[in-house]
């Protein structure tokens, strides 16, 4: 769930308010957005991708709120790490342009197993 809007980093562009698919943020008068409906967060991480100043942190825990330490997240390079991974932001190469998905079958384990049988279905050509 979303756990942090960094007041220090936030430039009050309210892009997170605009893009959140489940509307967890609220704008405030002359201030940084607040996490108003945390329980509605679906842990999709997309707000982080859109935040131009890496001010947001989505914890991986979908069902419980956790304490986070902004300084520690910043020091470990976690703030903004998802945006960096997908290659958004100035001077970065987009993940889409580096996408290895079409080639992962080349490194399949020796005895191919389909993930649990209830995951993605590949086109069968034989």
């Amino acid at each position: 769930m979303i756990e942090l809007v960094s007041a220090e980093r936030c430039i009050q562009c309210n892009l997170c308010v605009k893009v959140c698919p489940t509307n967890v943020f609220d704008k405030t008068e002359g201030g940084v957005p607040v996490i108003k409906r945390q329980e509605d967060c679906q842990t999709c991480f997309i707000c982080e991708a859109y935040c131009p100043v890496d001010a947001l942190y989505v914890s991986p825990f979908t069902d419980e709120a956790v304490q986070v330490d902004e300084e520690e997240l910043a020091a470990k390079g976690i703030l903004g790490s998802w945006r960096e991974t997908i290659g958004w932001g100035p001077g970065r190469q987009k993940l889409a342009a580096l996408d290895q998905t079409p080639f992962i079958d080349r490194i399949l384990p020796p005895r191919p197993v389909r993930a649990a049988g209830i995951s993605d279905v590949k086109v069968q050509t034989s």
Partner: protein
């Protein structure tokens, strides 16, 4: 809180939903010269199952033999409920559209021979691009604008209305044609990007008399971290599974393996089949979001165990949805079209999951076809949508004056949602389906049904959530009604009843469900030679028609 704002618009085509299907529908309708408005519950670009992660596509080069082999394989795995002609249509259309996506700037990687690899899209990139393209086509986009109900008169659908949830306001769009692209229903199970998918479009369409199809093909759960949302699981193919004592769980991991093991105890995985830094680097540059919840929890997936669960995916990776009646994805309601996961995907998937590839290509194609169809329909209407005597068509989970008057006790929406989830999420009810278990569960759901109109939502957010609860309650009842009517097991495990483990050749038809108070089921033949024989046997069809009285 901003102050009240109301929006009232008139257009030729209204598209409800801003995932891939809605985006393509809006683009396609605008391309036909229609004036188009697109509303989304969230934001076109971030909403839906595709945007946060990525998606494979059903995509093959125009090679006759390759395509025919793929079609035949799918007809078989789909229990012969798909139609060859429709799979070919999708293969043809998606090839054209993905060329466009590349021209518009999506940077598909190329293989050593220079061939662009157009069978996978990274979600954030794809949907940000689609937003740009849709805007450039002249579509008016209204974000954070959940639809609550359709508008209707004796001619058919005429638009919709809903709330502007960030402005505590209302919107109304009048349009002679409407495309429903609201996605499937995953019952707020927190699969990646899926919590906006609550079956809203099914309910709206059904209130106008539309039918649904394939709702029994909804037995689909995806592996995800036990503590997190990531239901993109293809990379688990590089994992070994372990029990809580660290003993490897060997054997074929297909079919019921993970579901069975999870009922016995916790299951852990280690990605130790990606055993070199090179392999690990390749996987990290494929489904990148797979790693995010583990990295953030401090787990090195290549060496350390992580706990798995199964999250229910309802009709998102199932194949059921609103019935379509022609090649433009029209419904039985005049002016009402449907695209993406909101529509049944059985014509291309049959009784096998559309997840992972088929659904993504279906969204592109059904969006394209429905948008064009809607634009053409709107063009033929002599009466402008603004002049029609339209009324709101919603009946359930809405704050209506006449309902409020007779209410005594108020039903809490969150408790209602929890009660619905308790019927559809548990593996022992919905995965290990039995006639007895589903009958009991459907009985409880039918008892819950009147409560959808005993909610008393006040704010915009509460109004949306109350409506979602109604849509989920209806969807659950359609699913189990259909599942009980299909007394066989068919296709790739999307519907199984313990009492009927075999495939019954006399049930080789699609199953339609309709109605809200009382739900009716009836068969529809799939246009396949083997089915035609069954459909011609009037007695077989008659005996399969049954009415299920609800509540």
């Amino acid at each position: 809180m901003s102050k009240h704002k109301n929006v009232s618009l008139t257009a030729d085509v209204l598209v409800i939903g801003g995932g891939p299907a809605g985006a393509w529908a809006a683009w396609s309708a605008a391309n036909e010269g229609a004036k188009v408005v697109l509303v989304d519950k969230g934001y076109l670009g971030s909403s839906g199952a595709t945007a946060p992660g990525g998606t494979n596509l059903l995509y093959l080069p125009p090679d006759k033999e390759l395509r025919e082999a793929a079609v035949q394989a799918r007809l078989k795995s789909g229990g012969y409920l798909a139609e060859a002609e429709w799979i070919h249509r999708v293969l043809d259309q998606v090839y054209i559209n993905l060329e466009l996506v590349e021209q518009w700037g999506y940077p598909f990687v190329r293989d050593e021979s220079g061939t662009p690899m157009r069978d996978h899209l990274q979600g954030p990139e794809y949907m940000a691009l689609m937003r740009k393209v849709v805007k450039r086509a002249g579509v008016k986009i209204v974000d954070q604008a959940p639809a609550l109900e359709l508008l209707v008169d004796e001619h058919g659908v005429g638009g919709a209305r809903g709330v502007l949830r960030q402005e505590d306001g209302e919107w109304e769009v009048r349009a002679n044609a409407v495309v429903i692209a609201t996605g499937g229903c995953a019952f707020l199970s927190k699969g990646l990007g899926c919590n906006v998918l609550t079956g809203d479009g099914y309910l709206m369409a059904s209130e106008l008399g539309a039918e649904l199809s394939g709702m029994e093909f909804t037995r689909r759960y995806a592996p995800s971290p036990a503590y997190s949302s990531n239901t993109r699981s293809r990379l688990l193919g590089w994992a070994t599974y372990y029990d809580k004592d660290g003993n490897p769980l060997n054997g074929q991991r297909n079919g019921d393996f993970l579901a069975t093991k999870l009922l016995e105890g916790p299951v852990y995985a280690i990605m130790n089949k990606a055993d070199t830094p090179e392999k690990q680097a390749i996987l990290r540059k494929s489904h990148a979001i797979f790693f995010l919840p583990y990295d953030r929890a401090g787990i090195d997936v290549f060496t350390e165990p992580f706990p798995l669960t199964l999250r229910y995916e309802g009709t998102v990776r199932g194949t059921g949805g609103i019935r379509i009646v022609n090649e433009q994805c029209a419904t039985t309601v005049n002016g009402l079209y449907v695209a993406g996961d909101a529509a049944t995907r059985e014509r291309i998937t049959g009784a096998a999951s559309g997840g992972g590839a088929f659904n993504a290509s279906w969204a592109i194609c059904s969006g394209t076809w429905s948008g064009k169809g809607a634009a053409e329909y709107a063009r033929t209407q002599s009466l402008g949508a603004g002049e029609r005597n339209l009324r709101p068509g919603g009946k359930y989970g809405l704050r209506k004056e006449e309902q409020r008057a007779e209410q005594s006790a108020s039903v809490d929406t969150r408790e209602l949602v929890k009660a619905i989830q308790d019927e559809v999420l548990p593996l022992d009810i919905n995965y290990f389906r039995t006639e007895a278990g589903l009958t009991e569960s459907l009985g409880r759901l039918n008892e819950l049904w009147p409560k959808v109109n005993e909610q008393t939502p006040q704010t915009s957010t509460e109004r949306v959530q109350a409506r979602e609860a109604a849509a989920m309650a209806a969807t659950a009842r359609w699913m189990y009604t259909a599942a009980l009517a299909r007394k066989e097991s068919r296709g790739a495990g999307l519907h199984v009843l313990a009492e009927y483990p075999e495939t019954d050749p006399n049930q080789q038809y699609r199953l339609l469900v309709s109605g809200l108070e009382s739900i009716v089921t009836r068969p529809e033949s799939a246009a396949h030679p083997a089915v035609a024989a069954v459909a011609n046997d009037t007695a077989a069809v008659q005996s399969a028609v049954k009415e299920v009285q609800a509540g």
